[in-house]
């Protein structure tokens, strides 16, 4: 016997009420991250240990700045979702789980904001 209402069937979002949204966003950000991280590995090969002037000159380049910003944004979304899944899998007490999920959101936003601000400051103000 099917207990679901016709509306629930049409929405197709299941018992978690969000369907495959979380799964899908992890995959889309992962696909986006493949070329971005490949670019970044090459960038880091060229600049690891380089002096201040060289690194800043590289980050001032608009192309590098935009790629840096995109890498940050995609990483932050992907890593927050990924850590969410880890927390939900392993933390079973409701209070601690909510606290860690909030901490995860704050940490991700904070690190993302910090990186974005730094990248933009270098690009615009040196």
């Amino acid at each position: 016997m099917d207990m679901r209402t016709p509306l629930a069937k049409v929405r197709g979002l299941g018992s978690a009420k969000s369907g495959t949204e979380h799964f899908w966003r992890v995959r889309t950000t992962a696909v986006v991250l493949v070329p971005l991280t490949l670019f970044y590995i090459v960038f880091l090969i060229a600049h690891a240990g380089a002096p201040y002037e060289v690194v800043v000159a590289a980050l001032v380049n608009p192309f590098v700045c935009v790629i840096t910003a995109l890498t940050i944004v995609a990483s932050i979304v992907h890593m927050q979702l990924g850590m969410e899944e880890i927390i939900q899998d392993y933390i079973h007490s409701e209070g601690l789980k909510v606290a860690l999920l909030l901490l995860n959101a704050f940490f991700s936003l904070f690190i993302g904001g910090l990186c974005l601000f730094a990248a933009l400051k270098i690009a615009f103000a040196g």
């Binding site: 995959r27 992962a30 696909v31 991250l33 493949v34 991280t37 490949l38 590995i41 880091l44 090969i45 060229a46 690891a48 240990g49 380089a50 002096p51 201040y52 002037e53 690194v55 800043v56 980050l59 840096t68 990483s75 932050i76 890593m79 990924g82 850590m83 880890i86 690190i111 910090l114 990186c115 601000f117 730094a118 990248a119 400051k121 270098i122």
Partner: protein, 130 residues
């Protein structure tokens, strides 16, 4: 937590299963994901230092250039490359490819070997460029 299973049997715990490479790679993907999560602090410190001026950048550069710093960055590079390859494997599975048992195990072994080899190559390239 009294009798949450209503007397039904629990599924056996992990140690009863035969070890297979795909199992190891499943947990390594999660561990590298977690490592990359905290590794973004390293990226943030580097970018913020570069944005703050020469003095703070030289300071961070010196830490990253130390033996311990290089070791951590080497590990970070491996985690990144391994997670990337593991992620590609996941996406292939999500598209419905690569489930055949022997192939999946071969791919799991291959991803450790190739991530290690690629990490060493990347670091050789870094040392040459430097």
């Amino acid at each position: 937590m009294s009798n949450v299973t209503n007397g039904r049997p629990l599924s056996p715990h992990l140690q009863i299963y035969k070890f297979v490479p795909t199992m190891a790679m499943s947990i390594v993907h999660r561990i590298t994901g977690g490592a990359l999560y905290f590794g973004t602090i390293l990226v943030a410190a580097w970018l913020v230092a570069a944005a703050s001026g020469k003095e703070s950048f030289d300071w961070v550069n010196a830490i990253y250039g130390s033996f311990l710093g290089q070791l951590v960055l080497f590990g970070y590079t491996w985690a990144m490359i391994h997670h990337l390859l593991g992620g590609l494997r996941h996406i292939a599975w999500d598209l419905g490819y690569g489930f055949e048992k022997h192939f999946a195990n071969k791919l799991a072994r291959l991803s450790v070997i190739s991530s290690a080899a690629l990490t060493v190559l990347v670091w050789i390239a870094i040392l040459i460029v430097r």
